[in-house]
């Protein structure tokens, strides 16, 4: 495996003139690469270059030859380790890439399905709840809204009681009919809440507002 040049680079190589031509971008180039960008092919290129250089040395002297042979085994071992590392790294990257793609697909699928199934998995944080809008027993109003509605209801109830009492007065003849126009001039609303009334116009619409929202949701 040490002597295999990269398959991509074989096309441009002319067989005998390998050395000169490959010096710039050929097997030699792999040594100049950042170790974190190495591929398995680069490792093969490096082993080819080192093996070739070792062969050249052994041609000179016998003493040197034994030393170089020993060195050669070591270098082979290093290259094997490097190969293993690079392969392992690439496998991990590929696994992560696949994982990412599958998660991306899952998210897109949930998004296109709509919100309801998604909200169940949302963690809104402490002291918060997720409200299922289709649950008939879900909480609907805030305390302030309830307070406002009760205030308005009490006001309307007292007005009703006053009107009923007045009607009884007319029915029993306690109030003569020619006073009826004046009775209608009595526009003052009765306040039965602990706090004094706020803007009258706004209050009149609280109940209607809240319940029209509900009926709007139903349709």
């Amino acid at each position: 495996m040490e002597k295999k040049p990269s398959p991509g680079k074989e096309e441009g190589e002319g067989g005998e003139e390998e050395e000169e031509e490959e010096e710039e971008s050929g097997p030699e180039g792999a040594l100049g690469k950042s170790p974190f960008q190495l591929t398995a092919e680069d490792v093969y290129d490096i082993s080819y270059v080192v093996g070739r250089d070792l062969m050249a040395i052994t041609g000179d002297s016998r003493d040197v030859a034994t030393r170089v042979t020993q060195l050669q085994f070591k270098i082979v071992r290093i290259l094997e380790m490097l190969e293993a590392l690079v392969n392992d790294c690439n496998v991990t990257v590929e696994e992560l890439r696949m994982e990412r793609d599958s998660l991306r697909k899952e998210v897109e699928g949930l998004r296109s399905e709509g919100q309801p199934p998604n909200t169940e998995e949302v963690n809104p944080g402490t002291n918060k709840i997720v409200v299922d809008l289709t649950d008939p027993n879900r909480p609907r109003f805030t305390m302030q809204e309830l307070r406002d509605v009760l205030h308005e209801r009490n006001k309307l109830k007292s007005q009703l009681l006053v009107a009923q009492e007045e009607l009884q007065c007319y029915k029993s003849g306690l109030i003569p009919l020619n006073n009826s126009q004046l009775a209608r001039r009595d526009p003052q609303a009765l306040v039965t809440s602990p706090s004094s009334s706020k803007g009258g116009k706004q209050e009149k619409t609280i109940i209607r507002k809240l319940f029209s929202f509900r009926s709007g949701k139903r349709t």
């Binding site: 009760l150 306690l174 039965t192 602990p194």
Partner: protein, 277 residues
């Protein structure tokens, strides 16, 4: 509240008149306590001054007044049932939790003087406490109710009273402790609980009553007692302000009313319209 209504009516030249009350809302004799061991006062007749003021129509604005009554207590002790039995003479077996607050108005004629109670029914559920407690203020009468068949609810009345008293001047309100669902207990069992309740009532400076909204036992007697005590206090307070002052005011308002009603009828006859603004 009705007080305001009537005053508004006076301003718009209406006669201060209320329709007659039902026969069972007429109180001429001072209603009795439930037990002398825990009652706010032992006498069985109206205060002499009050009686005289009523006869001479020196009660000032008391007849225009609506006294505030708040009913408190744990959930499901029967506060709403108690009020509904008295105000509407009905009893509903099904439990429906009160949301926040509700109220009823009961009109009486006490010693010949019209008098009204606004009875506030509050929710017993903890979650509505913040809403209901806003209605405690200005209560002339505080009624703390508990379930005679559930001794725990008796212990909680202490806290309910403390909550209500926090919103009112100390000593300004009459306090009643009422045991409900009397029909659920046998005589001896009821007596045992009543002993505890009377003890607590004395601690709370409250008057004790046992009632049943289901059978109606003691319900009318209880509220009649509440109305009479509140009425007497109102009249005494009015007299304290100065009987002379009250007399003049009452006299003046009557004469003004007569004048204005005659003016109004003249205007009606001559066809000139009174300004509408």
């Amino acid at each position: 509240m009705l007080k305001r209504m009537v005053l508004v009516r006076m301003e718009s030249n209406l006669m201060v008149l209320a329709p007659p009350v039902g026969r069972d809302r007429i109180i001429s004799d001072f209603p009795k306590w439930y037990t002398p061991e825990a009652c706010l006062q032992l006498k069985d007749h109206f205060h002499r001054q009050v009686r005289a003021a009523c006869q001479e129509q020196r009660t000032g604005t008391v007849g225009l007044k609506v006294s505030k009554v708040v009913v408190l207590g744990d959930l499901y002790v029967g506060k709403t049932s108690l009020i509904n039995r008295f105000c509407k003479d009905v009893f509903d077996r099904d439990y429906k939790a009160t949301i926040g607050v509700d109220f009823e108005i009961e009109r009486f004629q006490i010693a010949g003087v019209p008098y009204s109670l606004q009875i506030w029914d509050t929710a017993g559920q903890e979650k509505f406490k913040c809403i209901a407690s806003a209605y405690y203020r200005g209560a002339q009468v505080i009624i703390t109710a508990f379930d005679l068949a559930d001794i725990q609810t008796l212990g909680h009345t202490r806290q309910w009273l403390a909550d209500a008293q926090r919103e009112n001047e100390s000593g300004s309100s009459f306090v009643f402790l009422v045991g409900t669902k009397k029909d659920l207990l046998s005589g001896p069992a009821c007596e045992r609980t009543e002993m505890d309740a009377v003890h607590l009532a004395n601690e709370m400076q409250a008057e004790y009553w046992s009632v049943s909204a289901k059978t109606g036992e003691n319900v009318k007697a209880f509220f009649t007692r509440v109305a009479a005590l509140a009425f007497e206090q109102s009249v005494l307070q009015e007299l304290e302000k100065g009987s002379c002052h009250a007399q003049i005011r009452a006299g003046a308002s009557i004469s003004i009313r007569r004048e204005e009603s005659s003016v109004a009828s003249q205007e009606g006859a001559s066809g000139s319209s009174p300004g509408c603004c």
